[in-house]
Structures are given as structure tokens and as C-alpha cells.
Amino acid sequence: MSQTDTAPAAATAAAGADRSLTIRHLDKEYVRGKAVLRDINLTIDGRGLTAIIGPSGTGKSTLIRCINRLVEPSGGEIVFMGQDLAKLRGAALRAARRRIGMVFQEYNLVERLSVMENLLCGRLGYVPVWRAWLRRFPQADIDAAFALLDAVGLGDFATRRADALSGGQRQRVGIARALMQQPDLLLADEPTSSLDPKTSVEIMELMARLTGARDIPVVVNIHNVELARRFATRVIGMTGGRVVFDGPPAALEPRHLTEIYGGEDWL
């Protein structure tokens, strides 16, 4: 219970470890016989921003959620930092999850808690229940939270309730909360899909900058091909539960987009 490696230095200490993610033969079917993911094989390096693009309902979200097991894979391996995440259970799964931050489309903040408490929620995997209950979070966590609030530009919002924030501000809190985990991997499931175009760019910029500074690899699902081109170091195109494009954004040509999304009229 007394997991208290709360020193901000821990992030840099862990940076030396191999943060690459290897997915082998990953399958997922929600209903028997209807595969959402078919035999996905990917190796994601321990750095850079990998964007997964593809039409709605093609399994992007499922893929990303299989990694931290918010969705149970039907088969295959997900190896991260020497562990097969697909096999973990109970406390071992929680210990692995706290090394993986996640940013959500709908922000998923606890609306009636303050911004500060939402950030500290990112530490719940490290902090024992009684401390969370009494709100006695370690000072190092609180310092880290204030530093992150400044970094996402919400320094004056610590005591504001989450439901009083705008969409863009909420997503900034979402990013800060994920980074509070001092993660070795950041997953982002459509982080900009509920935001206007300008805010979307700001959010992507912020995410790329903060994770770049900490050298945290990012896997992001994104609808917007332009945003993927602009911020990603690698683009993975999916359609029908399969990977159909994998390469640097510069290599992404109209014919690939036609293959990924189907049709040409929209281009």
C-alpha cells in the first residue's frame, strides 16, 4: 500500500527504461464472430507521437483501450516495459496502469471536484486510500500538480470546480491529470474531437510539447488527418480492424487516405 515514489525525479529516472510498446496478434471481438480488431501487430518506439487515423467504428478506440485494458483483448500480447499487459490482473494491472496515462475525448473529469483534486486523481494509483479519503496527498504531489497547472496555463484555476471550465480548459486538466501519473506512455482517445478547430490545435500542441519535454511516447487516436500530419512523427492508418498504412506523415498520400476512409469525394 505504501507506494510513495512521489519524487518528480522518478520520471526522469524511469526515462532510461525502454518505453517501447509491442503489440502481437491482437484480436478483439465484442460479439463472437464479429471481429473489431484482427491480428494487429505493431511496435511503437519509446518516443515520439504516433497518430492512429481511420473512420469511425474501425477499432481505433478499441485498440487504444486494449493497451490499458479498459477493454479486454480477446487474444494476443501487449508487451510494455517487459510485461504482457494482456495477462495482468488485480494489483499488478493497477501497477501497470499507473505507468500509462490516458486522455479522453469527453475529458472524463470528476465534474464536482476542484481542478486540483482532479489533478491529484492522477496520483490515486500511488496514494493509499486513507490518504485520498482524508485528502492528505503528499506535498510532492501537490507541488507537481501546481507545476503542471502552470505548464498547461491554468495556474489560477486550482480551486475552480471542473464543471465551471470550458471544453479546452477541461482537456488541459485532462492532460495534466494524465501527466500527474508520471507515465511512461500516454494514450489519447480522440482528445480533440469535442473541441473547436483552434482549441484542437492548441491542445495537440500542448500535448506534444509537454510529452516531448518529458520524453514520453504518445499514442493518439485522431479523426483529423491534418492534425495527425502536423503533430505526429508516425501515422498508422486503420480500416475495418486492420492496419493499412504505417509510416511517417510525409509519406501519407491521397491514395492512402482513399484506402483508409474509402471514396474520394471528400478529399
Binding site: L124, G125, V129
Partner: protein, 274 residues
Amino acid sequence: MTPAQHAAPLAAVDREWRRFSPRERFARWLVYLVAVAAIVWSVRTIDVIPEFLADAPTQIVDLFQRMWPVDVAHYRRGIHDVLIETLHIATLGTILALGLAVPVGLLAARNITRSRVANQFAQLILVSSRSVNSLVWALVFVAVFGPGALAGALAIAFRSIGFVGKLLAEALEETQRGPIEALEAAGAPWGSIMLKGYWPQVQPAFIGIALFRWDINVRESAVLGLVGAGGIGVALDDAMNFFQWDRVAMVLLTILVVVVIAEILVTWIRRRII
């Protein structure tokens, strides 16, 4: 294109409209018939004694005359203490019920306890608590613990578990999944997810339920004295047994005033907190 042109081809179609189909009309007629039959049947079975019915207005006037003037002085001598006891029974019973109902509510909420058997077991507890009237619970506890406020408080508590537990379980089931997912993704243990994910979401509902139940319990504990479970009902029972109608009137008036004050208080607090 004008609207008239637009409507022209449609006009040929039979545009008659009736709210109900013939079958529905027959069903409605049947419902009225059954209702009238039920009223006729029940009037025949309740055995109205005509003399007593004819006598009723006189009796009512007589009762009010016996009640008037209300024995206000009796409040200090015989009502005040039992009134305070009533409030204690209601408050203690509510607090006890909240403590007992939380685990049952967690067990009943399908998104928290993912076992159908456990859910149904919790539902059984909740239904049995609600299906027994608080006077019956009071009779049971008077038999176990003897007459007095303890039996009353327990009766109130056991009667309230069903109400509080059911509404709490419903509030838990209506919580948003998103924040919970976020905490799971952060590797939070079960206890922390409960505290930081579910509790903030159900807190307003929980406070509302607690206040509402306290309000109901103030009313319910007023009659518990009729079966010996303490409170203002004892004073009511005594006064009625001795045909001291002016005192009965004072007790009833006190209950009315307390219930109204409780209602106002609860409404005010709810507005302030939620």
C-alpha cells in the same frame, strides 16, 4: 411552389384522424365499466351502518366542541419532553438507516456489484425493509427490547433502509462512466474509485435522500407511541384513552406544527446545498 400546390396531391388521401382505434375505444369502455362495477361492489361489502352514517355530522361537531378550547398548557407538562424524544427517534433512526443502507445500496447497484445473485439478495433486503410498516417494525422491536425510544429508533431505521438503499442504488447506477474509467486508467484501487469517482457524483442525491427521509421519519415517529415505542404518540395515546380531547387536539396541533417546520427546514437546506 406555394403551400396550396404542395398540399394538393395529399388532399385526395383520406385524412380523417381519430385519436383512438376501435380496439382502443373498446378497451377504454371496458376500463370504465370495470371501475363502476368495482365501486358498486365495494359499497355493498363495506356494510355501512345507516344510523352511524346519519349521526356522523353531529358526532364531528361534538368532537370539535370537546377539543375546543385546546389545552395549550398541556404542552409544557406532558408534550414537550416526548416531542423532543420524537425528534431524537427520527434523527437517530435516520442516521442508523444511512449507515445500514450504504452497504446494501452498493450491493444492489448493478454497475458496482457485478453479480446478479448479490444484486437480487440486496433487492430482497430492500424490499423486505419497505414492505413492513414502521408500526409493525415497532411492534417487533418493542417485543425484543421492551417499550421505549430504542425500539422506536430501530423501527424507524429498519423501515428506512429500503427507501434509502433503493434510491442510493439508483443514484449510483445513474453515475457517468467516464470519470470512473479515467480513475481506473490511472490505476486507482477500488476504495479510491468509490471515494473520488462515485461519491462526488452521488453526493447531492445522497444528501437529498437523507433529508427527505428525515422529514418522513419525523412524521412516522409521531405515531410510534401508539404501540409503545416512545415519542409523542405516547402522549396522544394517553390523552385518547382518558377521552381528554382538548389534550388530543394540542398533541395533533404540535405534530402539525413540527411537520410543517421540518418540511420548511428540509426544503431550505436542500436548496442551499444542492
